[in-house]
């Protein structure tokens, strides 16, 4: 258990993982931050604004990037996946697979490669609502600010146009995966969440009707760096919208899908209602819900949104959506429970408040990871030296995740005492 190497391995470079890493490093411990995608930042950098302040997530992310920049104790790896962890608390051997970026550290992010790249791919950052080149920057604030090549679509040596275009020798089409072995004292799992696949909810017609989108996609539609440059336009014809319905608990609190409450969707929809409101002051906005869950001071936000006479809250779950074949407008049906009447609202667009699915961990671990029935990691039941932070352990809002991730940092460094 005695090991001079007082370092922590944090798996997941989203807001929770970054927080744990930074907080531990600012106490003075060495941290390895492992992220599987090309940039740190995770889900929050795909958000337009945070509730309830309606402030841009990039602001806090920028501070965190800066904290990482100035802190030599944090070593981060993107496109990296933990393959295996073995050993004992205080002395874990972590095997990390570094997937090839095909772009080396010489990259200056000058964009010359992308200018000549002939291949396109659908953007995962924008949930496939637009395209990037095969060589691309994850987003304008990508950290590290390095391009990456999507090897699933890149034509590699057959094309090699980027190779010629790059003045800095940064393209390495023959880059191979590498393995990195590190020794750490403790491990924090901050593997985060994914949005529920709404296509599984057959009556809500996601993936069938074009104007039915998920809340995560709505964030991109409202974001200045999204596929529509921040203008909320309906997908079928890129038209401005006059009315919109938010369908709460789309999959969540549903035994056929996610039996737990995803905690944040009520607030997310209210927040998105404010997006619509600020872009389209005359639009009619309907929020269909079972229970509005705005705990603590989030209630203030609910009160504020509720006071808006263009936003109607209807207690009753939307269970049926139909599409007008010509106009592509949608009619949502619910029972307005408090009046005992079925209610039909024809709207331009429908946003499904889909919930959070925990990503869990796929790496080989020194001991079995204990999950609850929903796939969330149970923090108290893990073997010593393994800790959990953020949405890997419960569905939660950003502030709660960060609060939790800060606590996880303390747990992770206690092993060194």
């Amino acid at each position: 258990m005695t090991n001079d190497n007082k370092s922590v391995c944090v798996i997941g470079g989203g807001i929770s993982g970054m927080t744990t890493a930074i907080e531990a490093a600012e106490v003075g411990y060495e941290v390895y931050l492992i992220e599987k995608s090309p940039s740190l930042g995770g889900r929050v950098v795909q958000m337009n604004q945070y509730f309830p302040k309606l402030c841009p997530p990039q602001c806090g992310v920028e501070i965190n990037y800066k904290r990482i920049r100035v802190n030599p104790k944090i070593r981060y790896f993107t496109l990296a996946e933990v393959e295996k962890i073995s050993g004992t608390p205080g002395n874990f051997d972590v095997t990390i697979r570094l997937n090839p970026r095909y772009v080396n550290d010489k990259c200056t992010a000058c964009n010359k490669c992308a200018e000549v790249c002939p291949v396109e791919r659908s953007s995962d950052y924008n949930y496939a609502m637009d395209k990037t080149k095969a060589v691309y920057l994850a987003h304008e604030m990508a950290f590290p600010m390095k391009y990456v090549i999507d090897d699933k679509v890149c034509l590699k040596e057959q094309c090699a146009k980027c190779l010629a275009a790059c003045k800095y020798d940064a393209i390495e089409l023959s880059m191979k995966p590498k393995t990195l072995n590190i020794n750490v004292g403790s491990v924090v799992l901050a593997t985060g969440w994914s949005s529920y696949d709404a296509a599984k909810i057959d009556n809500l017609k996601y993936g069938i009707y074009k104007n039915v989108v998920r809340n995560v996609e709505m964030e991109r539609l409202a974001a200045p760096n999204g596929p529509t440059k921040g203008k909320i336009l309906r997908p079928s014809d890129k038209k401005e919208i006059k009315s919109i319905a938010f369908v709460q608990c789309a999959g969540s609190r549903d035994e056929n899908h996610l039996a737990y409450c995803s905690s944040i969707c009520c607030l997310a929809s209210m927040k998105q209602a404010t997006y619509v409101r600020s872009q389209y002051p005359d639009a009619d906005i309907y929020i269909f819900y079972i229970d509005i869950r705005a705990t603590g001071r989030f209630e203030d936000f609910y009160t504020k949104v509720q006071a808006d006479n263009k936003i109607s809250f209807i207690k009753g779950k939307v269970a049926k959506i139909t599409e007008d074949a010509d106009t592509k407008s949608l009619t949502v049906v619910a029972e307005d429970i408090l009046s005992g009447q079925k209610i039909y609202k024809t709207v331009d667009m429908v946003v499904l408040a889909t919930g959070m699915v925990p990503n869990g961990i796929k790496s080989q671990m020194p001991a079995d990871i204990v999950y609850d029935e929903f796939g969330f990691i149970v923090p108290d039941l893990q073997s010593p030296g393994i800790y959990t932070a953020g949405c890997a352990k419960k569905p939660a809002d950003v502030a709660s995740c960060i609060q939790d991730a800060t606590g996880a940092a303390l747990k992770a460094i206690q092993i060194f005492v």
Partner: protein, 389 residues
């Protein structure tokens, strides 16, 4: 204050739980059920409101709610229910409760509600028919010669038995229905809007709805259930018609029995029997294999289905054996058949068979009281409801 004093009846909740509504407490009132139900109207749709009434043990509301009988338990609601509260089954359980609740006399309701009384219930027709056999001397040996069932148990005995039983049953039904109608009239959650249709008009419309099964057809989740029910229904109606024709034929026109196989009435009878058996087979298959949509099956369901199935099979079997010439088997099969027919008819108002009358009455009432019908493929903005959250 004029608010209604609510007294939750835990016993009622427990009863509903036992009668097939075991999942009712899971409901969290999202109203998915009311929306996915193709039979539910726009005004005060079911079964969301019935679910909370059931959860709260509000018996009076439920037993006088016509909507309980406008549900065909097709299972759309149960399939989509996010909590596994199975509203379809709860509605079924409430109907089961109603059989017992409206039973006249009361003890008959109790007798049909639990398998422990089953031997007693069967003992009545068995003893009755055995006494007849003993009286006519057919108890020890069956009549010789051409197999004619009337030789075994003569019409002279059978018909008066069934006529008097039917009369008693009709009387009991009248009592139950009167009470049911009165309850609906006082407690109808939709409020009464009389005057649109007369009772007669309502009755005709209700009959049309039942005969065409046009509401039942709207079920999405389990279409097989609709087919099964249709087969049973028409099989039964055919057999009922045959019985009526034969009865009148016998006494009015001196019809000779057994009928020839080519006789149109006989053909109808056989088709009816086959339809009944086929329908029952589908129903049994459904109940065993499609629990997600059909839901769990309970005593009321199995008893009724079993009786019908056996009636169909024994009827057909009796005919086939008769044709094959095996007199003892044929006669005793017929005996069994009669016992089950007796069971069906005599206990009609208390078994699930009674759903026929309650449903019919409820539909008549609904039409008479001006209750809304479900919207036809409603996609247009019909109601403008500004909700107070």
């Amino acid at each position: 204050m004029a608010n209604n004093l609510i007294e939750s009846d835990i016993d009622f909740v427990n009863d509903i739980t036992k009668l097939g509504g075991g999942s009712l407490k899971k409901c969290f009132q999202c109203a998915t059920c009311s929306v996915v139900c193709n039979l539910s109207s726009d005004d005060k749709p079911f079964p969301r409101k019935e679910m909370i009434w059931a959860q709260w043990g509000l018996k009076d509301k439920l037993i006088s709610d016509p909507d309980v009988w406008r549900c065909y338990q097709c299972g759309d609601c149960s399939v989509h229910c996010p909590r596994g509260a199975k509203p379809a089954e709860v509605m079924g359980a409430i109907r089961n409760y109603s059989f017992k609740n409206y039973a006249f006399p009361k003890f008959m309701g109790t007798a049909l509600s639990s398998p422990k009384y089953l031997p007693l219930l069967f003992a009545v027709p068995v003893i009755l028919f055995l006494l007849v056999l003993a009286h006519v001397g057919n108890l020890i040996s069956v009549p010789a010669g051409e197999i004619v069932f009337a030789k075994f148990i003569p019409h002279l005995y059978v018909d008066p038995i069934f006529i008097s039983v039917s009369a008693i049953v009709a009387g009991a039904m009248a009592m139950s229905i009167t009470k049911f109608w009165k309850n609906m009239d006082t407690n109808n959650p939709h409020g009464n809007h009389y005057g649109e249709k007369s009772i007669l008009q309502s009755g005709i419309l209700a009959a049309e709805e039942i005969l065409t099964h046009n509401k039942f057809k709207k079920c999405d989740a389990n279409n097989l259930r609709y087919s099964g029910h249709l087969a049973i229904f028409y099989g039964f109606m055919a057999l009922f018609a045959v019985t009526t024709i034969v009865f009148f034929g016998l006494y009015v026109f001196g019809l000779e029995l057994p009928l020839k196989l080519t006789n149109p009435v006989k053909i109808l009878a056989n088709i009816g029997a086959v339809a009944l058996i086929t329908g029952c087979t589908i129903a049994v298959y459904n109940r065993l294999n499609k629990k997600d949509t059909s839901g769990e099956s309970y005593y009321y369901d199995w008893l009724f289905l079993g009786i019908l199935f056996i009636i169909g099979i024994t009827g057909l079997l009796a005919e086939l054996v008769r044709l094959s010439g095996n007199a003892p088997v044929a006669y005793w099969t017929y005996f069994v058949h009669l016992v089950f027919v007796f069971f069906l008819i005599a206990y009609l108002p208390y078994s699930k068979f009674a759903h026929l009358m309650y449903r019919f009455v409820a539909i008549v009432y609904a039409k008479y009281a001006g209750m809304r019908e479900p919207a036809e493929d409603a996609v247009t903005e019909k109601t403008e409801v500004k909700s107070v959250a």
